[in-house]
């Protein structure tokens, strides 16, 4: 059915090929319909829905505590930050003030999640453009973060550590020691990433000037996160709308103005340094106190509409709740960063080669369950 519609629009020397849904460079089940002239891309049309689970419909049936668990399954590499978004939305609606200890722990774990996510991205992005070693370097370092998470809450990826009102458990006695060990370790390893990949001439030639996105287009396409910031668009929610303990720390927003794939790459590398700095500022200053405030067993939000945005590793994640005063949301919409970032893929890929498409797509850092909610 797709084939026939494409066929009707063919010019004589154009043809189309499928990329995906099982292509290694699409990092999940994303199918791209490429219209090609020779090896030049004329059009990229994403075909979505292979793993759509209709989480928004399930949310209308579930309680607010249950919804937190579903958000893990969207952007699984930023699971803790997604959890935090729903919890913040519910806490703001109920006007609950969580203890400072919770805010600081949430921020530390959020930044560790960001490092882990960027780390994995760096590994697979190197692999996409043919540098296999990066994968093993990245997974070696990421493993330490996952071990910390496992000790803290029992899960390595889909954490479920946040609940409305605070955290599910207090941190493990080893937490501070192990985070410090990781930071010391990672600060010696991150410069190796530059030596291995960033300064590699072949890599740079594949990335520079490829997939250019202007600032105006970035805003118009709703780009956020490192994709927007690579185009010089200052869009870090941690700066514009600070949440949890992010107003207590100082960090720089990573910004590049080139707008090409290499700029997006550099933004993410710098963000890892900034996240290290945020964790360092907070890890010795975790306040004493409770790790949660008690909420009612059945949470009912007041009638009204609530919006909460946070900065995940991929960009701006929003939770829009319409409540009618019952224990379920009337309507819940997730604004996922990957969805908007995918929509600009056609714009940056047209006119390039198929190899450039792989490089551009790698720097968009798509996570398909985040798009197919």
């Amino acid at each position: 059915m797709e084939t026939s519609t494409v066929n009707n629009n063919f010019k004589s020397d154009e043809y189309f090929i499928n990329m995906g849904p099982q292509h290694p460079a699409t990092h999940g089940v994303l199918r791209l319909l490429l219209t090609i002239d020779g090896e030049t891309i004329k059009k990229v049309e994403p075909d979505l829905g292979y793993i759509h689970r209709s989480i928004e419909k399930m949310c209308e049936r579930d309680s607010y505590q249950q919804i937190v668990h579903l958000t893990d399954r969207m952007d699984y590499l930023s699971s803790n930050i997604n959890n935090e978004a729903v919890c913040l939305a519910v806490e703001n609606a109920l006007q609950i003030e969580v203890p400072d200890r919770v805010k600081v722990i949430r921020t530390i774990i959020g930044e560790l999640t960001r490092i882990a996510s960027h780390n994995l991205w760096w590994g697979v992005m190197g692999m996409d453009v043919g540098a296999l070693t990066t994968y093993f370097y990245a997974f070696r370092d990421r493993e330490m973060i996952n071990d910390i998470f496992e000790e803290t809450c029992g899960a390595r990826l889909t954490m479920n550590y946040n609940i409305p009102g605070g955290l599910m458990f207090d941190i493990h006695p080893n937490f501070i020691k192990r985070v410090k060990e990781f930071i010391t370790h990672f600060k010696t390893k991150l410069p190796e990433y530059d030596t291995l990949l960033t300064n590699n001439v072949i890599f740079q030639k594949r990335m520079r000037g490829v997939g250019i996105l202007s600032k105006e287009d970035a805003i118009s396409y709703g780009a956020s996160g490192p994709v927007g910031r690579g185009s010089g668009y200052s869009c870090d929610v941690r700066k514009t709308n600070p949440y949890s303990a992010l107003d207590k720390v100082t960090f720089n927003e990573a910004l590049r103005t080139e707008g090409d794939s290499f700029a997006r790459y550099e933004v993410r590398i710098q963000e890892m340094w900034e996240s290290i700095s945020i964790v360092e500022q907070l890890i010795d200053n975790i306040p004493e106190g409770d790790y949660k405030v008690e909420t009612n067993a059945v949470i009912k939000l007041p009638k009204g509409e609530f919006y909460q945005k946070v900065e995940t590793a991929r960009g701006e994640f929003g939770v829009y709740i319409i409540s009618t005063g019952t224990k379920n949301p009337y309507r819940l919409k997730f604004r996922s960063p990957g969805f908007s970032n995918l929509s600009l893929l056609n714009h940056i890929a047209v006119g390039g080669k198929i190899g450039d498409l792989v490089a551009s797509m790698a720097t968009l850092d798509l996570v398909i369950p985040d798009i197919d909610r």
């Binding site: 059915m1 419909k57 709703g222 701006e316 309507r331 929509s343 714009h347």
Partner: protein
């Protein structure tokens, strides 16, 4: 710009604020909300984007909503220069053939978001460049995020 200043400014764009049915409210929401008639939607959106004092250039969330009797779309807009936020709502009671104007020509991100709304709510958008189902297959029956959607096999109702 504060919500009050925004409300005053946008109120002056329409010739007669009493009859034009532009409703402002801040009740039950943290943002300023505007309800607009479907016929006036595109003109209002164009002005919100192009006016230098409002300059809402970032459409960060576009959601379809089924209010029971009415179907509608909620637009969350932010200005990247002034950093103010506004919410625009448009509703229709026509559940058989709901149609609004597309805002794709104003914000390009609307292309995918409007396709998602069409897929799950069956709301059509005039002048959309490629309006077809985005996640579901072309032969899918019904619109799953509507409140009256029934699927005895795949849906678990509590």
């Amino acid at each position: 710009m504060t919500n009050e200043a925004l409300q005053n400014l946008i109120g002056t764009w329409v010739p007669n604020p009493v009859t034009s049915e532009l409703e402002f409210t801040e009740e039950e929401s943290q943002f300023l909300n505007i309800s607009v008639q479907p016929a006036d939607l595109h003109q209002l959106m164009t002005q919100l984007k192009s006016n230098s004092e409002t300059s809402f250039d970032y459409l960060f969330c576009l959601s379809g909503v089924d209010w029971g009797k009415e179907l509608g779309v909620v637009y969350h807009l932010e200005s990247t220069t002034h950093r103010h936020i506004i919410v625009v709502k448009v509703k229709t009671e026509d559940r058989e053939n709901p149609v609004f104007d597309s805002v794709y020509d104003i914000w390009k991100t609307a292309e995918f978001h409007e396709r998602e709304v069409f897929d799950f709510f069956g709301i059509k958008f005039n002048n959309h460049p490629n309006l077809k189902r985005l996640f579901l297959t072309e032969d899918w029956d019904g619109f799953p995020l509507r409140k009256d959607y029934v699927d005895d096999i795949n849906m678990i109702v509590k």
